[in-house]
Assembly symmetry: C2
Homo-oligomer: 257 residues x 2
């Protein structure tokens, strides 16, 4: 067996989406795609997502399963000021530590609400609660910070606040090589080019080709996404796939349709 | 302990979203919300979602975990004609049965491709493969059927094809009482009404109130979603919450903002 260097290691993350509003269908999740794209830029692969309801035991169990099986765990949702925001309590239960008021978080909130009506109420002070031992993730957008607890990163559920917290973490997590993806589209029914796709993938170990069909303007089409940690290999495979599609009578569209 | 009748039982389902395209962030998932809303109409609660990559063992492990812990398991993705469509193989592995060609699925596909260019190619015939013992879920949209295997329902990943398969299942699954939800919106920062929300929820056992903040047109606002299996109770709680909001100086908006 050959030793794996840090460069070669595949870094993985899981995402735990917390919220009844996602499971009821009321809210269309936008954090999965956003966290996935951001992780990819950090050279970290999103390997698993779970969505659980606002229930302490369900959250805690998932946290403990996922933080053990991945390099990183991100969570979204449940860190606001209302009674249904129980992520911090569930996280503390998962880690077996008490919930405490984080003094720096308290200062940030005091400052943020200084000239706002009502000031720092008890409800707002809830947003300074953290599992004992946690660090803060800065959030320039709305004051209330995210929370880091070991390899777990606790983000807000509102997508633009989550984005602001991710921005604060950019470049600060250890990762490997980002995955490069090249997309080729064609007005082909994917079943007509299935052999061609399989053969192209088989001829280039280290790439994965995904096929994503659509039907628009009365015609079938598909986008073929070539993904690899080796950018040169991804581009080369893209060029060859384009060539093969053209030979088969389909005009390839660089970047997809 | 009082016996639980079928009417009182809470029916739950899990959803397994299968696909590298979701985990890479390339595709924004639309099936979670769609399946959630459909299940709710059937009186079944979506209790958990997982997203896994196109890897046989990861799919099979999740299938076995989720089908055991819920009344129903739905999956989306990976049942097309290309090499990256491996859901059927993973499902067969999970159930410990071989993959076979389903004779009725074959007939459906033969008929569908009868007057289409190329006819029923080997790649298209892949879509007639099922785990041994499976039944079909009709799909008027594109011919290729979904698959039912015990309490597992295998749907397409393309949202409108998944919708068509769900339509075919409407009213055919055992469920309980649908959850009724009532939404009240207000131009209030949720931290200002946190106590009011907690008290209203506590005063009405059997309801859950979720608070979903937003910021638009330069002002804070939030929608409060009251959910209950008891429709009358949900409406009553909505009326009371509106009253309390008005008393606190916020004009409630029925149906949310």
């Amino acid at each position: 067996m050959v030793g794996v260097t840090e460069q070669e290691k595949i870094w993985t993350a899981a995402l735990l989406v917390i919220g009844d509003e996602i499971l009821s269908g009321r809210t269309q999740d936008k954090n999965i795609a956003q966290v996935a794209m951001w992780l990819n830029e950090q050279g970290i692969r999103l390997a698993e997502v779970r969505v659980v309801p606002d229930q302490t035991d369900r959250i805690a169990d998932s946290v403990n399963a996922l933080r053990a099986s991945h390099d990183y765990l991100f969570t979204t949702g449940g860190i606001g000021p209302t009674h249904d925001d129980i992520t911090v309590d569930a996280m503390a239960a998962a880690f077996g530590v008490p919930v405490v008021i984080h003094s720096e978080a308290r200062r940030i909130l005091e400052n943020y609400y200084l000239n706002r009506p009502g000031g720092l109420t008890d409800a707002r002070l809830r947003m300074a609660r953290v599992p004992e031992g946690a660090e803060l993730i800065r959030n320039p957008y709305s004051g209330a910070p995210g929370i880091r607890m070991g390899n777990v990163f606790i983000l807000a559920g509102v997508p633009n606040i989550a984005a602001s917290m991710l921005e604060g973490l950019t470049g600060r997590l250890k990762g490997g090589r980002p995955i490069v993806s090249v997309t080729i589209g064609a007005r082909a029914a994917e079943s007509d080019v299935a052999d061609l796709l399989r053969e192209t993938e088989a001829a280039h170990p280290g790439v994965a080709i995904g096929s994503y069909p659509f039907f628009s303007e009365g015609r079938h089409g598909a986008n073929f996404v070539i993904r690899s940690e080796d950018g040169e290999l991804a581009r080369l495979t893209g060029t060859e796939l384009s060539l093969r599609l053209r030979e088969a009578g389909y005009e390839p569209v660089q970047g997809g349709i």
